[in-house]
Subunit: 256 residues, 2 copies
């Protein structure tokens, strides 16, 4: 069997330790190419760059791997990686390892996961990995065995069409991780606030801040699995239709 | 009954004709406040600004309406509008009218719809409106009667929890519009390409382009309704779990 072609990206930028860890795992499995943002792109969601040009620079961040940094968003990286660099679809898109959680509603704000969702839109098996540790010095080693196992399962099995996996890893040493659980996305939210500050000229500016909370209480959610010491895997799709609400809206009789 | 409080935003920016049209409708229904981006934010998806401060400026774009322009994304506008300006939840969030379609998979790239989805995350009845005409001079008048009717229905009925509406309007004169259809999001995609150009110094840059296509053939989709001359209404949620894939993934036996 020929080696699978794996496109690696992230949202923390090409110099982040998280992507280095992911590349070190991916290269033991397949032929790896990296196309990642040239600067941090956290919270970029599914943004694409339509009003500005993109720059693409061959890099030397990974001496033995072809790697490019891109001036755009994580989704731009996937699009330009497939269209301009690979000129074909890879066998797998992996994104991360994110420095910080993308569980629950975070998925929708996440550049890491949006890159994986873009892979799903292209119907390529795609996985976003996130470690529940925001720090630059986060310990990515403890999750390597699990990440490799998840990638191998994804390559071996029939991957669900138009779907990607949202994998979140608790901040634990390897032997404390209890295993892997398939979950649904928890309904939990940011309680936002804005720091109000003054610039040197005395003019106000605001900085987004907040607390995450309001867990939905389900035992089948990603947040519940993570709290219990499991790695959570949520199959994630881009059909945002609230199918359950269609009947209710039809009873509103819009045309009367 | 007191007048409903309506927060209006968009992604084309506070000076776009589309938001002017939406404000002119909303102010016949309720108390209106505008918090919209100070520059075009098309394709920003659910991006939020976490690595930079935000500026908020009281504007005079709408002489009889309190209005602010914000340096952030459409989602930032909703967050800062609720937290810093209103200091309470409005009765309704409306976003648009977008210059261009947000039907099918476009919903995930759309700043207009992401603002509505952010309203849904706050469990506020929220609606994104888009007209299938990209031009600055798009005819927003023809859809005013329908938009007003949809807003009134949304205020009168029990709005489905944690849901927003994705409303797309065909480029037709009013009497040619056949009515309103509740739909699901079509599975249809961009066939992307990148224009490759050279800057004045001879260095390459890329510009995202593409063709939209690959309609899924269903007669219950937004694209199908629009093609037939109907306004499409898709109830839209932020639970991205591919619930149908959970069983299949459990059979991958991750823990063996």
């Amino acid at each position: 069997m020929t080696k699978p072609l794996i496109l690696v990206t992230n949202d923390d930028g090409i110099t982040a330790p998280g992507i280095e860890a992911l590349v070190s795992i991916a290269k033991t499995i397949g032929e790896v190419i990296v196309v990642a943002p040239d600067s941090p792109q956290s919270g970029m969601g599914h943004a694409i760059t339509v009003n500005a040009p993109l720059r693409l620079n061959r890099g030397n961040y990974f001496p033995d791997i072809v790697n490019y940094s891109c001036s755009g968003t994580p989704v731009d990286c996937v699009k330009i990686g497939i269209n301009k660099i690979l000129k074909k679809k890879p066998d797998l898109v992996v994104s991360g390892i994110n420095h910080g959680s993308n569980a629950a509603t975070n998925v929708i704000y996440s550049g890491t996961m949006s890159a994986a969702v873009e892979g799903a839109i292209e119907n390529i098996p795609s996985i976003g990995f996130s470690l529940l540790d925001h720090s630059f010095d986060a310990d990515f080693k403890s999750s390597k065995t699990f990440i490799k196992a998840i990638i191998l399962k994804a390559l071996k099995n029939d991957f669900p069409h138009y779907t990607c996996l949202n994998v979140n890893i608790p901040k634990l040493i390897e032997k404390e991780i209890k295993g892997i659980k398939i979950c649904r996305q928890a309904t939990a939210f940011w309680d936002n606030d804005f720091d109000e500050r003054k610039d040197p000229l005395g003019k106000k500016y605001y900085w987004l801040t907040g607390q995450f909370g309001g867990h939905d209480g389900g035992s089948d959610t990603d947040l519940s699995a993570l709290e219990k010491g499991y790695i959570s895997v949520v199959p994630t799709q881009f059909d945002m239709t609230a199918h359950h609400a269609i009947g209710e809206l039809n009873r509103w009789n819009f045309n009367q």
